[in-house]
């Protein structure tokens, strides 16, 4: 089976997922063996007891015999079953100890806020000037533990990056902790995995694990404010973005300062839009702005009904937000 981006039976790329993977395989193989053994026993049991097939209509007159008590079947069966059960129990506890606790000294701490239906990612730092927010794309340096503090802005969601780590629910009123440690650079898909309403299906994000240098470069770029508009088209677009999009979105360095929707300051640095629903390019962006309700029905962004010119201007400006 080729690689599925949310699969967790191969290609574990994070410390936690790697610890869980062999246990998953062990339990899976034990399970399959149990099913095969029982199915075989059942098959033989049904076949062997019949000297000649008795027609169903004669069930009533087939002889009844007390037969041997057969209790030994149960005791032997239970004793054999206890061996894999005990092994699984011990292995479970060992794995739990290995993956449960958050690291004592994380190299990086993130605040991820789950919202209907996207992920707000906030990079914490002592210096307020070094803090920034982005959406649906989490960059982490490879090989170091990253602590993720999970907050829910509305309903319950669940934070899941199968290649790196199992699920942690995101629950209003409490801050749950997860941690990620990628062992190889790459892009790892994440998905909300607790039902959260209309667009639960389209609530994805990506974790980008990269070398420390790449990460630092990315971080520095994210800290920049949005570049000023250059062309007349972009200038008109910028005004529209501040005036319309700014009701919900933020573009740092402009008048658009609301935080109810994804931060657009470096929109074009992200690979997808609408929480993994669409690839990010000017075409999909224009389609999304104009018809977000048909792309992702029920999402909280209304259709914009811009004129063709307005739309072109808006996209022209948004394209500069690299």
């Amino acid at each position: 089976m080729s690689h599925s981006p949310l699969g967790y039976l191969s290609d574990a790329a994070g410390t936690r997922a790697q610890a869980i993977l062999p246990l998953t395989w062990f339990m899976l193989i034990v399970s399959i063996i149990v099913c095969v053994v029982i199915a075989t026993l059942l098959w033989i049991a049904v076949r062997r007891g019949r000297p000649a097939p008795v027609p169903a209509s004669a069930a009533a007159i087939a002889p009844v015999e007390a037969g041997p008590p057969g209790d030994r079947w149960i005791s032997v069966g239970i004793i054999i079953s206890c061996v894999p059960l005990a092994a699984a129990l011990v292995w479970t506890m060992l794995t739990l100890a290995a993956v449960a606790g958050p690291p004592a000294n994380p190299a990086l701490t993130l605040d991820v806020t789950a919202r209907q239906w996207w992920w707000d990612v906030h990079y914490d730092a002592r210096d307020p000037a070094s803090q920034f927010s982005t959406a649906n794309e989490i960059h982490i340096p490879v090989g170091v533990p990253v602590l993720v503090r999970l907050h829910a802005a509305d309903v319950i969601h669940s934070f899941w990056v199968p290649a790196l780590s199992g699920k942690t629910d995101v629950i209003p009123g409490q801050t749950n902790l997860s941690w990620l440690q990628a062992s190889a650079p790459g892009r790892y898909l994440g998905q909300c995995s607790e039902y959260c309403g209309f667009q639960h299906a389209h609530m994805q994000f990506e974790v980008v694990a990269e070398s420390q240098q790449d990460f630092d470069r990315w971080r520095a770029a994210q800290l920049e404010e949005a570049a000023a508009a250059q062309t007349p088209e972009q200038t008109r677009g910028a005004a529209l973005v501040v005036y319309r999009c700014g009701l919900c979105h933020r573009v740092r360095g402009t008048g658009a300062g609301a935080v109810f929707a994804p931060d657009l300051t470096h929109l074009m640095s992200r690979r997808t839009i609408a929480a993994g629903s669409l690839p990010n390019n000017p075409g999909t962006l224009a389609g999304w702005i104009e018809n977000s309700q048909s792309v992702k029905p029920g999402n909280l962004m209304p259709d914009q009904y811009l004129s063709g010119q307005q739309l072109a201007d808006t996209v022209a400006y948004l394209e500069t937000l690299k």
């Binding site: 089976m1 599925s4 949310l6 699969g7 039976l9 869980i20 246990l23 998953t24 339990m27 899976l28 099913c35 029982i38 199915a39 026993l41 059942l42 007891g49 019949r50 000297p51 097939p53 169903a56 069930a59 009533a60 087939a62 007390a66 037969g67 008590p69 057969g70 209790d71 079947w73 149960i74 069966g77 239970i78 079953s81 059960l85 699984a88 129990l89 479970t92 506890m93 739990l96 993956v99 449960a100 509305d154 319950i156 669940s158 899941w160 199992g166 699920k167 942690t168 629950i171 209003p172 009123g173 409490q174 998905q191 909300c192 995995s193 039902y195 639960h200 299906a201 029905p297 029920g298």
Partner: protein, 647 residues
């Protein structure tokens, strides 16, 4: 004539006059009046089964529509809202309106026959429990058909169910409907408990109970104490939505996880409540076709009880990802792994029974025996999710969807269909067609496994559950398409069952008393049984009263089926002691009554008034309920609830 407070009941043999006298005492009035007033457990049982199957078909149609939407990636047959209401209604229907009521139906029909009694302990309560079930089911479906179906899954997590996020009537219908339905489940459970302990045939000591009785009894004890948890949870939700309370919303200091605790304290024992009676059917049915007693009766009975006791302690395994402390995770993980042991007892007992017997292959046998392997598949996938770290990957993916369907279809639907083939002759006097039965079985078996075995892989490839559509990731499309095809094959299998039943009711071969050579008391009476079940109350000396000629009796004494207590001085049956089943009183049974129906109507009006926020309607409904209850409980002479000479 004043009848004495004490009497030595006559013992004798059956006779034509005796049967005629009993019939006049027990028979329900014909026509519409009888329809609404009957308290006959057999009639109520059949209604339960019929209604539950109607809901099964509805739930199945909902599933097929969803499977069309999921047949390929990015389809838009359904809007997200439609899909969400469909999957929630499908879950609600199958879990609450099909799987438990269908078992109540079988137990209602069978218990007095298995126990050698003439009715349930509280016949009017029995009728009430059915009417409330029907009314609550219609209430919930009225919401769905009006566009206000549940839309937050059957588990209904808050705060998504709160009014801020869910302003429609959807959650009002669901919350009130579940409180309403809870009444039916609770009173039904109380009735089963008292019936099992107090109305068995003389001599049927607790170690001679059929396993079906053990299963339903255990489930009923659980239901009695856990259903209030979910009723309360839904009631508090309704309060939050309409009276500004703060049980679940964090703004006022509420706890979203309180919902999950209350729900799963109920929910997990409930899962066992909807499989233990079905496992009991297999434990009682398989030996008949294997022509030998069940292997390990005592162990199977005890493991039934043990499963439930452990089942109370594993609810947190539905909440492994909610950020609980490690100690709690370790404890519940261990308990969830250990609960496999009592389940394994049943599996080995069934296997040994087949191995050591000489199986006669009938359709019922095929359903009962194939259930063993489905049970094991559902069991091992449960074992995998019991391990916390593994569960952190598995949970909320299609792996768990596959698991729950192996549990519910494998351990509930397959035994139930087997039970239909097994007991249909008793209910109707006609045999189901065996040839069509084979087609029925193989279509269902292949369709079910085609649909749900590959679904484990869908989950392992990471597809999350409860999504209305999905991206075209490698493997997902093919697997989903296979599941969709399998689900339609399964549906054809269910359709064949419906056809077989509809045909055989009229054209089936005449069954006779005991078409399968069964060993328990229900096979000692005619098919269908007379209104009074047993002309003379049987006296039981072993677990297999009808096989004693071939197996010999326990301790020498033989059961007596044609000589026993006559009890024909009124609508009477015998009350026996809880453990040893020694006769200790003559029970005066109530006649047909309109009170249960009237009370269910009163409650329905009340709940409809509450959902519509029509206070007057709600008050009228409540008043009607109280009046019906007073009518019901007014002490009656014929039931000896009051002194005959007085008043």
């Amino acid at each position: 004539m004043r009848q004495p407070d004490f009497r030595t009941p006559a013992i004798g043999r059956d006779s034509v006059e005796h049967e005629a006298r009993l019939l006049s005492l027990w028979e329900t009035a014909p026509g519409l009046k009888g329809f609404f007033t009957t308290v006959d457990h057999k009639e109520i049982g059949k209604r339960y089964i019929f209604t539950a199957f109607a809901f099964l078909v509805l739930g199945g149609i909902e599933a097929l529509i969803m499977r069309l939407q999921l047949a390929g990636p990015n389809l838009s047959l359904l809007t997200p809202d439609q899909y969400n209401q469909l999957f929630s209604t499908h879950g609600m229907t199958m879990i609450f309106l099909y799987s438990s009521p269908v078992l109540s139906g079988f137990s209602n029909f069978l218990w007095p026959l298995l126990l050698g009694s003439r009715d349930m302990a509280f016949p009017r309560l029995n009728a009430f429990s059915y009417w409330v079930y029907l009314a609550a089911g219609l209430f919930l479906y009225a919401g769905f058909l009006g566009g206000y179906g549940p839309n937050d899954g059957w588990f209904n997590y808050v705060p998504y169910a709160e009014r801020d996020y869910n302003p429609g009537l959807n959650q009002d219908f669901y919350a009130l409907g579940m409180v309403f339905l809870g009444i039916s489940t609770t009173v039904g459970a109380a009735n089963f408990i008292v019936t099992a302990f107090r109305t068995r045939a003389p001599g049927m000591s607790i170690n001679r109970l059929p396993i079906l009785v053990w299963g339903t009894l255990t489930a009923s004890v659980a239901n009695l104490v856990v259903v209030p948890a979910v009723s309360l949870a839904f009631f508090l939700l309704w309060m939050d939505r309409h009276f500004g309370t703060h049980f679940y919303d964090t703004a006022g200091g509420g706890q979203p996880l309180l919902w999950q605790h209350l729900f799963w304290i109920f929910g997990h024992p409930w899962v066992y409540a909807i499989v233990l009676p079905a496992m009991g059917m297999v434990s009682d049915g398989l030996p008949v076709f294997c022509r030998r007693p069940l292997v390990g009766y005592s162990l199977v009975a005890l493991s039934t009880v043990a499963t439930m006791i452990l089942g109370f302690g594993v609810w947190v395994h539905h909440m492994f990802a909610t950020g609980l402390p490690g100690l709690s995770l370790a404890f519940f993980s261990a308990a969830s792994i250990i609960i496999t042991v009592p389940s394994a007892v049943a599996v080995f007992a069934w296997l040994a029974t087949i191995w050591l017997g000489r199986p006669v292959i009938t359709t019922a046998f095929l359903f009962f025996s194939s259930m063993i392997i489905l049970f094991v598949i559902g069991g091992v996938s449960g074992f995998m999710t019991a391990s916390v770290p593994v569960d952190w990957q598995l949970t909320d993916t299609y792996f768990v969807v596959a698991h729950i369907h192996y549990v519910l279809i494998g351990i509930n639907l397959f035994p139930v269909v087997g039970a239909i083939y097994f007991w249909f002759p008793k209910m109707t006097g006609k045999l189901l067609d065996e040839r069509l039965g084979r087609w029925n079985f193989w279509t269902m078996f292949i369709g079910f496994n085609l649909a749900f075995l590959p679904m484990h892989l869908t989950g392992l490839l990471g597809m999350p559950r409860r999504v209305y559509t999905y991206h075209d990731y490698p493997g997902w499309h093919a697997l989903n398409l296979i599941t969709t095809i399998g689900s339609f094959v399964l549906a054809i299998g269910v359709l064949l069952l419906v056809i077989n039943v509809a045909r055989s009711v009229r054209l089936g071969a005449v069954a006779g008393r005991n078409p399968w050579g069964g060993s328990t008391l229900e096979w000692a009476v005619s098919s269908p049984p007379p209104a009074y079940n047993f002309a003379v109350i049987p006296t039981v000396a072993s677990r297999h009263p009808l096989w004693e000629d071939r197996l010999g009796a326990e301790g020498g004494a033989l059961s007596s089926l044609d000589t026993g207590l006559l009890l024909d001085q009124g609508k009477e049956t015998i009350g026996t002691s809880a453990l040893d089943a020694v006769p200790d009183m003559v029970l005066e049974m109530p006649g047909d009554s309109a009170a249960p129906f009237a009370m269910a109507v009163g409650l329905a009006v009340m709940f409809a008034g509450l959902v519509a926020q029509a206070r007057i309607a709600a008050a009228v409904g409540a008043l009607l309920t109280v009046i019906a209850l007073l009518m019901w409980l007014w002490p009656r002479r014929e039931l000896r609830e009051r002194e005959v000479a007085h008043g």
